[in-house]
Amino acid sequence: MGSILIQSGFAAAIVSMILYLLASTGKEKYLKYGRLFFHLSVTATIASAAYLVYLIISHQFQYTYVWNYSSKSLPVNLLISTFYAGQEGSFHLWAFFMAVLGIFLLQFLLKRDSSGNHNSNIERNDKYEPLVMFTFTLIHAFVLFILVIKSPYLFVWESFPKDAAVGFIPEDGRGLNPLLQNFWMTIHPPILFAGFSALAIPFCFAIAALVKNRYSEWMKLALPWTLFAGMILGLGIMLGGYWAYGVLGWGGYWAWDPVENSSLVPWIIIIAAIHTMLAEEKTSGYKKSSLILCIMAFVMVLYSTFLTRSGILGDSSVHSFVDPGQEVYLFLVVFLSLFGLSGIGLIFFRFKSLRTKKADTSEVLSRESALFTGAVVLSAAALVIAVGTSWPIISKGTIDAAFYNKMNLPLAIFIGVINGFSIMLAWKHSEEKRFLRSLLVPAALAIAGTIILAVFAVRDVLIAIFIATSLFSLFINSRIAYKIFINNKTKAGAYLAHIGVMILFLGIIGSSKYSEEVNISLPLNEPKEALGYKMTYKGSTPFRDMNEEKYHFNVVVEKDGQGFLLQPIMYYSEYSEGILKNPDIANLITKDVYLSPMALETPKEYSENDLVTIKRGEAIEVKGMKVKFIDFDRSKFSQESMQEGKDNIMGAELEITSGYEKEIIIAEQKISDGETENIPVKLKNNERYTFFLSNVTVTGESSIELGIVDAQEIKDPQAPEMLVLTASIKPFINLVWGGTVIMVLGFFFSLYSRYKKFDNEKRKSSKIIYNNGHQNGHQKNGHHKTHNEKQLK
């Protein structure tokens, strides 16, 4: 049933797209049907999503996707989030958000097209719905097509015909990767994908404007969506950062990883687009820039999808990629190049008509030129990141993360300056003296603040300048925001967002440039000094979480008589067949103390508890295995070399039966100069157990003493253990989170005030239209005029 839903959704999207295309050529009768099929495709997409969620919740493991990513033991919220744990599902999440946003977009367009939110009668019938919806359904169809060729609804016997008979239902699923088993998994991917989907909308408006060759209105219509996309994507990106920092223990919130970068680039571009769109709104210039940026933002979404989904970056990222197969790879290339080329091609095609009249270009000292410069700087940052991220495709190497920091630092400095300036500048023309005077106070404050910081800590000139410009912009924005806030709360959005960004900048400086980090080894109960703190490892305590046996490693951190307990976590994950680690953080207002566990070192490789004695020819049950000592292996052993004091190896032939598998291994002991060294040996197909030949009795009744170590038993009560961890101090990291929250709030306020404005204008204009309708009688006049108008242009 799921496949049918997907396929019919895809088919309906294609039909709807064709009907909208016909409608856009003026045949309005198709519009109705276009909408109908669009609703069909949206319904099918949402129904398919609901169906997949149902399959996951009801544990239908005969579906490969359900079997592959979920299991019975997961709690409901994580169970639902397995929906997007794999490739198919995350494409489905994208399709789902396209569908949901599509409903709102269509409503928005219907309202706009019917009420006629226009300046003149001529444009009344100049509808945006057909072309915008044509592009939108085309994108939706593409995403759905990926699901058609890589369906989440394959049965296990279809995916693995050799291994499973038709009708086979696995007992339980493989489960969710433990790295993904936390709260952030339930919110970060949906928000990110909602942002990616929303970025399609400004793109659709830009394409519609270019095809129509009319640029007076698209920007007003697209701006609220652009703001929405910027807000959601920005939030999604930083949530990912918080996840990496707080749970995964990557040490920081940002590592310039390809996956992180490829969502950051579209965001930066859309932020640039917002700025040129504002400039366009006030001056009706900068059309080209807005169009190019809106198109590029979405093209970069597709490009990042290609980078992260095609397996092309497999070697250079901490995120794991699965090769999606040839079809999907090719399809992604087609997807990317079609939209990329047609978007850029259209701009070239319309280049002449897009030329702004020279008379319109405003002075250098105006807010619009500052906005434009800001957009250029943002685009430069996007370019730097995009080139760095793409490098592994061109060459075999990678780019050091330092490159991004080095290149973006001056750009960020510029952003602070330009932002501060632009707010003090008036539209079109500013008086030089007044402008400079208005900068005086914030500049003085910023310099004073920087000097204070320089006295305490800051030694790097560029960093000092960066701090100064961030403070400068922060002061200016705060002042304006405060003034506006008293009158009308929602109008302060833009300033609030900038305050957020500047606080974020300051947080980034503090937490990265002035972060201190040290690797330390803490023997049990032995205090050590690190980063000005006394740290003592007090042993580990087991606990159960998500059906796994995990261990808290208790570290007491003390300073000036005050102490707190940090409990980083390590545990053996059956799923990953390895040790997984979570950091623990003490949030101290001005800084975080961050402990990231690295390893637990035990001096001996096995303890008393791991030892067993086996007589020759006998078998014993130990740790769930049957271990039989067959005989000694003397093939590397000789009496002569023994007497000469040369190295000698004594072996014991063992037969291990674990489950249905039987294996013969040789455990060996190296004897040199009277010292014996036990050579660890493992089973061929099971990394979990390590065998040590610890003692050999050859005389009398032959027997061996065997140490069997289970990798899942991390804790060793006998041996004095040592906790190895990376301790770091992250100063002012709270500014990073606080700044992000303020920025998102700023976006939200701007969006809200835009929405209100749009609503008011529409109400007003619909009244006018109503009156006009009575006066003019026939609406068709307008239609003809539209055509004339088009020809004139």
Binding site: W67, G86, A164, R174, T361, S395, T398, E577, G578, I579
Partner: protein, 130 residues
């Protein structure tokens, strides 16, 4: 207008030049131990961990020491700042990022490449059967 155009162009050129140098400076190429010991540049070397040689954590320096064979089969001691990397024992191959120093490869980071476990295979299916 003219003046601003010139300023604009100069800025772009400066940006590109600075960018180019920063870029070539931060490139980390794949290399092998021989090249790494000759040019002493930061690079990454792919290879495999030598399981028969020692691999231990030195608590006094907080470094992890192991021996690695690169793709040309030349072997070198690798000293990593930090503890034993994740999934070290079962890695098909390891990538060490760092530079040659005093007779050994001083790694800032060691990535382990493991057989992908994120997508199920037929054999797993059998195990999860009844």
């Amino acid at each position: 207008m003219k003046k601003t155009t010139i300023i604009g162009i100069v800025t772009i050129v400066v940006f590109l030049v600075v960018g180019f140098f920063a870029f070539s400076e931060s490139k980390i190429e794949y290399s092998n131990f021989q090249n790494a010991s000759e040019n002493q540049k930061t690079c990454q070397v792919k290879g495999s961990w030598q399981k028969d040689k020692e691999a231990k954590f030195d608590a006094t320096t907080n470094q992890f020491i192991f021996y690695m064979k690169d793709e040309n089969n030349s072997e070198m001691k690798v000293v990593l700042d930090g503890a034993r990397p994740n999934n070290f024992e079962m890695a098909e191959s390891v990538v060490a990022k760092g530079k040659f120093k005093d007779g050994y490869f001083h790694a800032k980071e060691v990535l382990t490449k493991c057989p992908s476990k994120y997508e199920g295979k037929g054999e797993h299916l059998k195990q999860s059967g009844i």
